[in-house]
């Protein structure tokens, strides 16, 4: 039997597991949003801890936050950054309320840990309040978008690194297959000869464009709206605090973040997220096209094109012995479909903003983070388990060219 403690908020009293670092409002969110079963991404949790640390330091600097309380908050946030208490972030990734539940989950975990650091017991919010102290000078409407951008930028670094390696692997294949002549096809009909290396060179070029497109789209995410508070007007935030919090965040995150020129715009408009998601979608389109080409060229082995051979990675059938399927290319296709769907969701959420705020950011951020992560993962396996091990069937390619009416 889980031991419980009682906590109170403006809606009344509620039981919370005694050992939990989250509190009553997180408990309410757990009951209100049993939606996907997915918890917030680790990078998003770490980014939230960065924001809370930066805000506490800024609030202490401008003399708004008692240093004893502020230092305890900073210490608690640093512990999260070391990877502690990650399992205390329990709210669903899709939630009503513009990310309020996740912001409150963060405030409660940090407050309760900070209370412990000061020698108090969890739930004693008179010592440190999740709202008045941990959330001081902030609103979900600046905390969540800022943390989300930091998380996306951190994860995108990995994606770009994997994309660069994929580009190099495709270029290596382009060189390796430069002297292999095969039939080019248009409309899936014989056309004129092309070198297999040229096919791979074209794939590499498309990936190079994706790298540039994603980098360009991600640059807009360096602009954050910390200090905007609820509607972008900066209510409850001191001007010096706003300068300080972004400076702190730059240092803590290691990212060249800057304050949005127009905080009202940055609080209500999410087109930069749509553009970034769009760049991921285009990458997905290119990857799916490449995967489809590889599946066609590798069709066979006896009754297909059989121009190339993909590395076998697992038996393909439970009923046909010896069959091996292009499963890695197939998973690339499926990830692409997921990312394309995610982008559609992001688009719908972006256009659903009303007046001073877009309250649909949780679903945008969930989808974008998922897209970045699954693209990163699939590109790695695509390169390691497929691209680098592709071999050419030189004789088959040559025979088809010789038999073709295309050599005229």
């Amino acid at each position: 039997m889980t031991e419980l403690r009682f906590e109170q908020d403006l809606l009344g009293t509620k039981e919370v597991p005694k050992d939990a670092y989250y509190g009553i409002q997180t408990q309410r969110a757990l009951e209100n949003f049993p939606i996907t079963g997915y918890r917030p991404h680790r990078e998003l949790i770490l980014a939230l801890a960065m924001v809370k640390k930066a805000a506490a330091l800024a609030n202490m600097k401008v003399g708004q936050l008692d240093s004893k309380i502020g230092e305890a908050i900073v210490e608690a946030a640093e512990e999260i950054l070391e990877g502690k208490f990650i399992d205390e972030f329990v709210v669903d990734v899709i939630q009503g309320g513009a990310g309020t539940s996740l912001n409150i989950n963060t405030n409660e975990v940090i407050a309760n840990r900070a209370i412990e650091i000061l020698g108090g017991e969890k739930g004693n919010y008179e010592l440190i309040s999740p709202n008045s102290h941990v959330n001081m000078s902030q609103s979900t409407n600046d905390v969540f978008p800022t943390a989300a951008r930091i998380a996306i930028l951190k994860l995108t670094k990995n994606l770009l690194s994997e994309l660069e390696e994929l580009y190099q692997a495709l270029m290596a294949k382009s060189q390796e297959f430069d002297d292999i002549i095969k039939m080019g096809r248009t409309h899936l009909q014989d056309a004129v000869p092309i070198r297999l290396g040229q096919e791979f060179g074209a794939y590499a070029k498309a990936i190079r464009r994706d790298i540039l497109r994603i980098k360009t789209a991600s640059e807009a995410l360096y602009e954050v709206n910390m200090g905007a508070t609820a509607v972008g007007t900066g209510l409850n935030a001191n001007v010096e605090y706003i300068e300080s919090v972004v400076e702190n965040l730059r240092e803590i995150s290691g990212l060249p973040l800057n304050s949005a020129e127009n905080m009202v715009d940055a609080t209500q408009n999410t087109d930069t997220l749509a553009a970034f998601s769009g760049s991921l979608k285009i990458l997905a389109l290119n990857l799916s096209k490449i995967a489809n080409d590889l599946r066609l060229m590798a069709s066979g082995p006896r009754a297909g094109l059989s121009e190339i051979k993909l590395p076998p990675v697992q038996p393909g059938s439970s009923i046909m012995p010896g069959k091996v399927n292009p499963v890695i290319a197939e998973v690339v296709n499926q990830v692409a479909f997921q990312v394309i769907g995610n982008d559609h969701t992001v688009g719908l959420a972006v256009k659903a903003g009303q007046l001073e705020l877009n309250v649909m950011e949780p679903v945008m951020i969930f989808n974008i983070i998922q897209s970045v992560e699954i693209l990163t993962n699939v590109i790695q396996v695509f390169r390691e388990k497929c691209i680098v091990g592709i071999t050419a069937n030189r004789e088959r390619c040559q025979a088809m060219v010789e038999r073709s009416v295309g050599i005229i």
């Binding site: 002549i181 000869p193 092309i194 060219v401 038999r403 073709s404 050599i407």
Partner: protein
Amino acid sequence: MSTDKTVPEIISEKGVLTPEEMEKVLCPRNMTEPSGFAIKK
């Protein structure tokens, strides 16, 4: 297509090109780049 013969076989039978010209004109490698070539007699 109807004879199931290759293009070089048909050209050879009809004597349209000499073997040297055919080798040059029908070289698949040359067809993978835009560098044009002229038939020198």
